[in-house]
Subunit: 468 residues, 2 copies
């Protein structure tokens, strides 16, 4: 029987998993941990090879984990009781409200009227909005998913670029990519721009390095702005939109804004909800209300005021699909961590680079720390598992403590750009369906190289000049 390519890829994924399953686990790794690693790699293989739709493939991974009793049911499905999974789902719903009410369109036209002469101008507009909010919204998932994503999507729609009808590459795919890599960079620029950043700072403290809001922001200023400046052009080259100049867009946007007239009741309520969300995302920590609770409140407000129709939300298939696969990957990756695979890996890396000069060793550690993120479904899990061991090895080898601590902290944000599951905004922006998996990973890899070069050259020079 001939297999079609999807079936062949499914077979390959299963074989890869089975092969790892039967290899002897490395010393210090629990047998169940190793089995879970085999399941994780097999699952990621179905995803990367597009052997099954992501929701189906990742559920299959959970099914194998449960059936083989590698993980109990409650642990395998623990991703669906994780705050970030629900934040991702609700971000899709909020974005739908932006589109549905026309508020997204209005904001999009404002931006186009302001900076819409060229596609790159739009890219800078998006990044600037993100940068402005970054110090204040510590949940990058909320910021990118709840604010930047709806605007990027609305911008795409403004230029008749949609995910579903073959017009994605017109401009939407580019804008989504820019929004994603923009948020990856802005989250690296402030201690308060990403949930795991304070964790990194705390762990650095345990290594005797004091990271403050101020020294973080100062250190990130030059490489961060440089990355933000270069990024739209790099993506323009690596993943060009069909529409590069939009000479009539400004005029068109002004005309459309005029034609839209005053805000409708639903649009006003959406604006109120949006401002409320922004306010609670910024000031919530003061009253101990986290990002997901804020999103739940926002959703409740939009449902009760009939701005959102629940029946409509049930039809947001991308939202449900993303909810399923993201929850599954989080649980699998968490499981690897719990089984001590990350700790084993840290020791292995330290042993590997033990004899070399500290410069070479730290560079090696940095690259390993960065690219092992292909195996993580959360920045927080990665930081929690590997930040401290890698930093300690670096310091032990003679690297400057503050600079090294900051470099690993920045990497802890920048590696989020590698995959479509590596950080909170990724599943949302990828899930919108504008960008193919292949392009997502390809551009992600290119941007990782660009970011590493910028942060390790201009960045290191800047930190040296600062005396770090």
């Amino acid at each position: 029987m001939l297999l079609n390519s999807r079936k062949r890829n499914l077979l390959i994924s299963v074989l890869v998993g089975v092969m790892i399953w039967f290899l002897p686990p490395p010393e210090g790794v629990d047998l169940n941990g190793w089995k879970l690693f085999a399941i994780f790699v097999g699952t990621i293989a179905t995803v990367v090879l597009d052997a099954l739709p992501m929701g189906a493939g990742t559920l299959l991974g959970l099914t194998v984990a449960v059936c083989t009793k590698t993980m109990p049911f409650k642990e395998a499905f623990s991703g669906y009781v994780s705050e970030v999974t629900w934040l991702v789902l609700i971000a899709f719903f909020i974005a739908h409200g932006f589109i549905q009410t026309g508020l997204g369109k209005r904001i999009a036209y404002w931006i186009v009227a302001l900076v819409g002469k060229r596609t790159v101008g739009l890219a800078y507009g998006l990044s600037f909005a993100d940068l402005l909010l970054a110090p204040a919204i510590p949940s990058v998932t909320a910021r990118a998913g709840g604010v930047v994503f709806p605007i990027a999507q609305s911008l795409a729609y403004t230029f008749q670029s949609r995910a579903e009808d073959g017009t994605a590459r017109r401009i939407g795919a580019y804008l989504i990519m820019v929004a994603f890599h923009g948020t990856v960079i802005t989250s690296a620029m402030f201690l308060t721009a990403m949930a795991a950043n304070p964790l990194a700072a705390k762990l650095a403290g345990q290594a005797g390095v004091q990271i403050t809001w101020g020294n973080w922001a100062l250190a990130a200023l030059v490489p961060g702005l440089l990355s933000l400046a270069v990024m739209p052009w790099v993506i323009m080259w690596a993943y060009p939109p069909e529409l590069k100049a939009t000479p009539h867009a400004v005029e068109h946007a002004r005309r459309e804004l005029h034609a839209m007239g005053p805000m409708s009741r639903a649009e006003k309520l959406m604006a109120v909800g949006f401002v409320g969300l922004l306010a609670l995302w910024i000031f919530g920590p003061l009253v101990k209300i986290d990002a997901t609770t804020t999103a739940l409140l926002g959703l409740a407000f939009l449902l009760v005021t009939d701005v959102l129709s629940w029946q409509d939300l049930l039809k947001q298939h991308n939202a449900w699909e993303t909810f399923i696969w993201f929850g599954a990957l989080i649980a699998l990756a968490d499981g690897l961590n719990k089984f001590g695979l990350a700790a084993w890996f840290g020791n292995w890396a330290a042993a590997l680079l033990g004899g070399t000069h500290w410069g070479v060793a730290v560079l090696g550690l940095f690259l390993i720390y960065f690219y092992v993120h292909y195996f993580f479904a959360s920045s927080t899990a990665h930081v929690g598992a590997l930040y401290l061991p890698f930093l300690l090895v670096g310091i032990k080898l003679g690297a400057p403590p503050l600079m090294t601590a900051l470099a690993f902290a920045f990497a802890s944000n920048l590696f989020g750009g590698l995959t479509h599951y590596g950080c909170g905004p990724a599943p949302i922006l990828y899930g919108a369906g504008f960008v193919s998996l292949k392009d997502w990973w390809r551009v992600g890899f290119i941007m990782s190289v660009v970011n590493i070069v910028i942060w390790l050259t201009a960045g290191v020079a800047w930190w040296a000049w600062l005396g770090y």
Copy 2:
């Protein structure tokens, strides 16, 4: 500003919740437990009053629970890591496979070809088809709405009986009524025949009673078959069709079967999956594979063989809607239980009925539990709210635990026949337009009396003989 009826009902629900919130908690009830009770009653009120779609209303309940810090997030959303919730979701998916592949239709036609010579035979044929599918299709809505209903309707059309041209009473109205009350009875006969049945079993477990697939089916066998045997005749008397003999039904079914041709590849695979599921649902416990794991395996099989398309499953909005509200209600009901509220209610009701003989008291409880369903739009909401407290009272009064747990579980299905909104199949079958509202309620009440008499006489005798 005038409020529409949904908004008015939402206001009523909120007021009910707020009122309870500010009442002093009864003695022995923790303040947080009482607050959760207020949230729970408010949430159930939105459901019963149809103030919001169920998914939206129940998520609102969770939001209030999280925001008021009555429950931590992980606890409020714990229903989404519950096996039962996932079983329900996957059951919808598997049911979709039955309908999609035509296997359900074929099975039903086989039976009609066998027993369709008279109207009553046709009625038995429909009920038998339903009975055959009942153990394997845990969504009574999918089973009755997607398999039995299309057959009942096309049979009616065969006899020139239509809803819209005054010929409904010829035979169609009778068949629709039989299909409805048949499914109400078959759903009572198997743990896996209705979405709320596993919930009842789970709640019974919290009361220390172990309900299994096997002891459920065994207990329901005699009263269930008796109800199924009597029901077509009761409806024949209470709501007679004009046409009592149907000599062409057998031929029609054979023609349809012939027209369907041989089984397609998808249908064959679905049959294999169906047999596998049945086998594992029945024999799984012997090899320590539970119902949800079985369902996960079945789903994986159907997805990998392309019998089910994941994209199609994402569009099963009823499935996602049910997943959301079911998970939410489970978590709230679990929370009440953890806070000791059910136990307190049991004590309160026990004190109320303390003087009477347990037989009288339990009969009273049973009737109240049954007929209060006029105020519910969902069996699951009813079970979630009242099953456990009523069961606890019964047990406390000295009733045999297993018998009582099963009796209330059976009632949780049988009360679905009372109204045109009381369970999932009702709006579909009523909405076909064959039966007037008055007749629907009248026949519903008559059937409720018949069912109660059968299950509480022949049923109780059978359970006593079984030693329950």
